[in-house]
Amino acid sequence: MKRTCLQRITITDKNQACDVDRFRHQTATLKTNNIRMKRILTLLMAGFLVLNISCTQWLEENQFDKINSDVIYTSPEGLKTAVGGLYSLNRRYFRFKDLPSTRANYWFYCATDLSITRTYNEANIYKEGMIPSGFYEDMWINGYQLIDRASSIIVRGRDVEMPEGEKNQLLAQAKAIRAMVYLRLVTIYDNILLDTIPTTKTNAFDPVEYKPATKEQIFNLIGDDLDFAIQYLDYNVDKGLVGQGLARHLRAEAAMWVNDWATAAANCDSIISSGTYSLVPIEQVFGASLDHSETILLWPFDELTGGNDELAGGSGSPLGAAFQSRYYEIKVAGEKEAPVIEDNVYGGNAFGWNLPNDYLRSLYDKSKDKRLDYYFYPDTIYGNNPKSKFFGKPLPGPLPYSTLIREYHWSVMKYRDFEKPATANLSYKDIIAYRLPETYLLGAEAHWRQNNNEKALEYLNAVRNRAGLDDTTTIDLDVILDEQARELCFEGKRWFFLKRIGRLVSQFNLYHREGGDINSLISYDMEDYHVRWPIPQSQIDVMATFPQNPGY
């Protein structure tokens, strides 16, 4: 085959294969001189060198839309913002948000002896769904993030030059938060890593021995951190911040996990006798403002400065909606109009995922206990739809109005928010994290464990009297168990309390129910190993030698 192609010419574009003008000149002779070429070459090589040197600098990255993280641990102002950041992360860690990754906290409200679970979380409660690879790993991951950020403040903050008192207050808050997170982690997983060294650029890739810390090591750290916090923190702080009250409360709670009843009792006594806190009238406990004398710590929320976890106002919580039936779905036979429309009096828009069960109800003295009126919605519903003929009147028919739980069931009122739009299920009302009655109950138990029944009854009766009940004169674990349910139900405390006293499995199996219709509720068997969560598989994968919890 004969070659039929062009001579090599400089091709400038494909539509026109050559440019005639350019090579018309090439008949002229271009005499070149080797020496001259070498000079040109040398010059250009020098140009290259300049280029490469300047390029190294030219390629340096300088992030201008974010703060360099080293800055925040090395200056007084930085350290303050680091503590602010820690609080924000902490609020996210401990509250429930309706996202797959942040449902973990909600689980502790549901997976107890006090609830019927209609939907949403039930698949994971002590069933096949509770597997390491599917289970809420944020509880582990975000916990350690908080711990590392707290440790960064605690370790690196020591070298920041600022007034010692001010510095210790910042460090004390970080220590209290670190203790709070470690307490949460150890009580969920039992087997955890202990790490107090902040991660830095230089140590991030150091080899680590992955093995569970002993219970003693963990509780010693928690105790030390809290003792420091108690020493440097005031009682009188904003309810959203960590003060001596919270530090002591946590100190008491931690001590009880290791049967150190004396320490627990002493700290509860300190809080109760501090004069900072007092029980408020029952109607104020979950009233419009939660910034009252009973509150030890609350998670602050604010719609106008919020919208996302990282914003000052945080993000809305569906806690109220989750524990509340949709009364606006109740139908009256033969009626076209729904008798109830979405209204904040009945919690507004709701989910009805998880509701208080008959066991909890049976614990209350119906004639006296005022908590029935202020912690729960009433059984009898009044029509509020102006178009309905039951407007302003009780709905007709015997209770229940519907056997479907999502439409009607006894519901929790602790998170009712009158300020949210009735059509919204997210609430920006503050949420109480710790309040004085829990201190009283911890104190009661701590004193009872030390056979100081007198003091124990004093504390127990303080809670009972406020609810309108008479003094009780006997005290044992069952009395505390029941009072704990009556006072602190659906506040995320029960699961940890039951686990601590060793009654989680038996209580759950006896009373927890699941289902969408009250006529077809079922129970599930919780196994003993379920009292501790599986270590997230993603973490086992990267911590090759860390053992999975037994049973998983």
Binding site: K14, T27, G47, N68, Y87, I141, E335, V542
Partner: protein, 1015 residues
Amino acid sequence: MKKKWLIDFPEKGDLKRIGLTICFTLIFLVGSIFTVSATDFSVEAQVKTVTGKVTNPSGLTLPGVTVVVKGTSKGSVTNIDGNFSIDNVSEDASLVFSFIGMKSEEVAVAGKNVITVVLYEDAIGLDEVVAVGYGVQRKSDLISSVVSVKAEELTKIITLDVGEMLRGKAAGVQITTENSGPGGSSKIQIRGKGSLAAGTSPIIIADGVEIGAINDINPGDISSVEILKDAAAQAIYGARASNGVVLITTKRGETGKASVNYTGYYGMQTVHRNFDVYSPEEYAQLKREAFRTTNKGVYPADEIVFSTIELESLKNKTYIDWEKEVLKMGSIQNHDLSVTSGTEKTKFFLSANYQNQKGVVPSTDFTKGMIRFNLDQTVNSWMKVGLNTTLSISKANDLGVAGVLNEVVRSSPLGKVYNDDGTLMLHPSGREENWNPLNDLKEVTQIKNNRNDLVNIFVDISPIAGLNYRISASRRSWDYNEDKYSTINSNSGSYNAAGGGSITTKGNSAWTIDNILSYSKAIGENHLSATIVQSLNEINYDEFALKFPKVPNDVLGVYGLESALSWEPSISGYQRRLSSLAGRVQYDFSSKYYLTLSGRRDGSSVFGENNKWGFFPAVAVGWNIYREDFLAGFEPLTNLKLRASYGSVGNEAIKPYGSLASADKWEYMAYGEKMSGYTPGSLLPNPNLKWETSTTLNAAIDFGFFDNYLSGTVELYKTNTTDLLVERNIDASTGYTKMRDNIGEIENKGIEAQLNAVFVRNEDLTVGAGLLFSANRNQIVKLFGDLNNDGVEDDYPANNWFIGQPIDVFYDWVAIGIWQEEEIDDIPNSAQPKNKPGSVKLLDKNGDKILNEEDREIVSKLPKWLGSFNFNASYKGVDLSMDVTTVQGILKYNGYLAEYKYGGDLRGYFNGIKVDYWTPENTTGTFPRPTNASTPKDMGLLAKQDASFVKLTNLTLGYTLPASLIARLKMNSVRIYFTGQNLLTLTDYYSYNPEQNPDDYPESRTLSFGVQIGF
């Protein structure tokens, strides 16, 4: 300017131009090496001037044909009448005539003064020039893997997305629809997925300049698209080339040819879904079944199951067909007007384009206008300047239809669309789960404005023969502005009891300076060319968004933000830079034996301090066997080439600042005030971050028989990508969860085949067909190493990464049916002791009654092979063409068969895609028993569907008016055509399009009519 070392140049002009070259060089910090040859150019014997004319077989004159005196670089180009004239041609010389798409002719002068030549079309176009990185090459000289797609192939596809036009046009290129809505785009993937976390999109280069997206180019301006597939072709783009390179060449003015062209079409669009939702009666029954299950197997009264509105609807048999209510006929139109003209010195191409698409989902539309101006100006004998510029604006009404389309599938057919007063009912079934899909279409506006400008100026300086220096500077800027507003009546507004909106602006500006020095030289049969490129690139990006969730009234829409009760601003930005030096040497002997060496050294700002630079070399060899003498006697063979290449390219498609430690804003409240807070994010900075490198071995054979009436290419490749950029999970006790890191290795290997045949080609009738086939196998070779010291490379199940398996796999238990009533005694002793009849039965592989990792199965999601077939025929003025594409063996998860939010979980809250569910009466059902309580366990295992398809993508019938008629109309050419797009899709995947989910914008069938007019 007069430098001592320049003074003994012979001519003043030479001195000036050399001086200028060097000035440019230094001004822009060019580091390039002059390799000026010292060869003398002797003046040839001058004998005569040769003139002549070039025509095609039917006698039409051919302008723009290159005429060169063989063995020299002297030549000319035919003018508008096909005439040429060359001075000083020696008596014994030969003239070579060449033209794109035509076979070259060589004619001996042999004393003639006038030469008339007829050029014939080349079936394969071996002399066709294709774009390669920083230059062009003739197809016959090509030894790397470059596929060229012609403009006509692209623009016959009725879509506004250039990516979609490439579907089925090049072997090894997979186009997957990402958004078929107005203004939507497709994903382009070349030769499999080669990265775990870094980008896998090819870079798009238009006229030598990287552009933001393929749709920044008006399809009508495209002259050709080249896809660079192997390392030898890509290495000159080093840094960013590991996912392939798409080179777009736009049209330019031509000497002596002035024309005005109009092309345009208008089409109507409809949708076709290949799945059924439950009919109203079936849906009612599903609901009863779901409630029955939770009511101890007894059907509850309808009054309990249904809402008041649903009951009414059932009683009166007034049902809703949501698809009919929502989806309407859409339209698409595209108009191009271009002017091209050229004199010897000045050539330009000017075009204006208007695109408009009204979506099948009402209130969605897209309008775009583009202008291009390409200019080539010859300044003098050694200098040319050029300009490529394009300006485009577009506006889209795109309210994010996923929610709307989801409701089309899942919304209850029981209920009422409108209230009695004619307003839309928010919850048509009376249940709050069911939202009226028409509501947000009416109450939400989201307007997206894009402005995209590109200006590229270049100067070509050719001081001596064969040497060309080009400095090219370009600036691209993109501005995006989005206004979104939802009224108080919208779904979100009714929730918040207030309207709200957001304003977002994004934009980047990028500039690039390229210094390109190229030289080519022939010494006897030796042909040598070299290219050196030095390039700097910088991209600056900024984004600002302001959300205002609560606006007291809707009167002003987004302009009411001033009165909003709160604002949530966010701002971010980045800069990334790339500095590169590349070189390429191409050598061939006698156009038989080829060798190319190329390499590029890139520095990218996004990597760790000590790892910014990477070097990516490649080598390619080729052998044009058919030019060997021993095959000279074998007449049928017109092309036979073996070629192979080996080389590496890099990937830097990760976000900037991965090696830096930064803190995020995390605020809190205390004492009623905002409390400032900062804390490091969850990404641990990695100061050692470096390039991801892909190394490819490519081998191919090109062949052609019978004057290339039958031709094709078979290509084999193997690409190993190492130092994969991933965002790996790290031990969370560090306080961080992820880190960008370089780990492991992935291998992609495959085969690509392309076959073209021309069955008939004569003056009246042409019939041809083409076949493309490609298969890619992907596997993970290495990940993090052997962490647990058991001597075996570790898998990474958390991300479904397994050694020896493809990147995208399902790692699941295996569903083997539904538990039956008669098995009720077996269930407690099975691996699923808590199951009930009607739930999904899983395979307990080893029979140990525990479902664990050992019972899981790894199944690839990636396609087994891709193919396409095209057919074209023309008879006199009538032309017909057809494109069929197929993807086979691809597995996809369809959430509509399993998930609550898609109505797939058989709970009776939503309608959904119809499946055969199990009931005590229907024991052959393949899906679990409906239950009102919660999503049946393991349903997701049933949602894996074979998403293979065969699609008739294009069917076009055209008619070109006869020349005699056109001449009377004083026009150059007129063609009218009808096109049907996506007329038929065969697939088992339940969706509007097997590449997308049912809530994605539905792909449309388009019927259109178009004209092409040339003046």
